[in-house]
Subunit: 267 residues, 2 copies
């Protein structure tokens, strides 16, 4: 199934941008009158008929809408420190989107070696991954913030930067009972060191005991979170978890957490 | 923790090959008398003291052995069709090793576009991944066979090509009660099409109902298994499973299955 992406669908009219139009007309040789399938990145699939086949700007008439197309029964926000090697982060977001992700926040930790992050490139990868895995919703990518800012932003239950951009499709962030009893999402932080005062719990067990469907997971950089970051997270309602006995790279830990959430809600 | 790999440890003496010796002496500047940590790829960690620091062939005396080091409480054999793009397969084996894998069989399906496979390159990636994730055992890589040959080889419960090479560490293949009641491993096949005669079951449910710890999972190529391959697998005791509602690429499906097994045995 060939999918197009458009952020310009309104009043029964869908416009493709230059890249998508070129692909539609030059590569796939679609012409006026052909039916195409378009996602809006917010969860809806549109069946459209092409009314103008310009390779610079295809226009199409909406025939049918299918909301919450390719959605999943939870809402997952992954806050993951950028990896030293960009490819590894890009690989993570692609795979996480295939499995089921709603929002990704690059967060910069005190021990992070990489402190720059290209949001636009990751957005492109996510659009491709959503199209490839037949999902109407494209995960939101937030601008990078420090780990401490992220934790502070989550403390009021509103999330960080989760307005604007392409909205995550399914679930209703913030509207369900969270793990910390405040009505926000279940907030988890995975780190590797042991702290006898706050023992880390198994992620499977914590997810299994949670009855809501709105989850945030914070994953540290290669050098792990600092003790101060972990403490701040715990003070702000994050539950410290571990991902089992295997020693995982940052991006593998992040994807393993995505899989844990996916399996938690698998029926 | 810096680890070396050696397949030549005998009688209290450990020899590193040329690559590992160069890395040890030229890059890390180890000298005679230094202590190093070496894995044998079969599950054991050796603490050794260097007795000869030649950059072409380091020799070291074994001080201490730690068997089943970095092992996991199951035995997992993934039979996965090569992906069109090699990188994607290599990424899968690296991540699967980090999470916990014992054996990988590249299998060629009737719908496979890629029919060649470089075993040696994948072996190298697995040695690196095992060292990086602090595991004593390096997963075994078998020579490619067709999907039908693989199924035939699994029918007698002995596995295909699981002799020779670097033996997987933990678990005892074939010695536990399997899912098909024959005493072999639990054999699963994941495909995408629906066959009303044999409905696919949820992998989480099938793993949850299995009391052994020896699992084989067969994952098809981009074009899926043929109906004939799926039927042959089922006739030979494979249970048809699905990986949930998400549409996953071959390598993502394979890694998701590895995560499902990992979480099944997480305590």
């Amino acid at each position: 199934m060939e999918l197009f992406f458009s952020s310009d669908i309104e009043g029964g009219l869908c416009r493709l941008d230059k890249d998508e139009s070129g692909h539609c007309v030059k590569v796939l040789r679609h012409r006026t009158g052909d039916e195409i399938s378009v996602i809006d990145g917010c969860g809806t699939l549109y069946s459209c008929r092409i009314t103008s086949d310009s390779p610079k700007g295809v226009e199409a008439m909406v025939l049918e809408e299918t909301p919450d197309w390719g959605g999943h029964p939870y809402r997952l926000h992954m806050a993951v420190c950028p990896t030293k090697n960009n490819d590894r982060y890009e690989w993570f977001v692609e795979k996480a989107c295939e499995i089921g992700l709603d929002e990704v926040s690059p967060v910069i930790g005190e021990h992070s070696e990489r402190r720059v992050f290209k949001t636009a490139r990751v957005e492109k990868i996510l659009v491709s991954a959503a199209k490839q895995s037949l999902k109407g919703a494209v995960p939101v990518v937030n601008e990078p913030v420090s780990v401490k800012e992220f934790i502070g932003g989550m403390a009021d239950g509103s999330g960080v930067g989760s307005v604007g951009g392409m909205a995550g499709g399914s679930g209703a962030g913030g509207s369900k009972a969270g793990g910390d009893g405040t009505g926000g999402p279940l907030k988890l932080i995975a780190y590797c060191f042991e702290d006898e005062r706050v023992p880390r719990r198994n992620i499977k067990e914590v997810l299994g005991g949670y009855e809501g469907s709105d989850v945030v997971v914070l994953i540290g950089p290669e050098g792990d979170f600092s003790k101060a970051e972990a403490e701040l997270a715990i003070q702000n309602g994050f539950i410290p978890v571990h991902l089992g006995d295997s020693r995982l790279r940052t991006e593998t830990a992040a994807l393993t957490a995505v899989a844990a959430v996916y399996f938690r809600y698998m029926v």
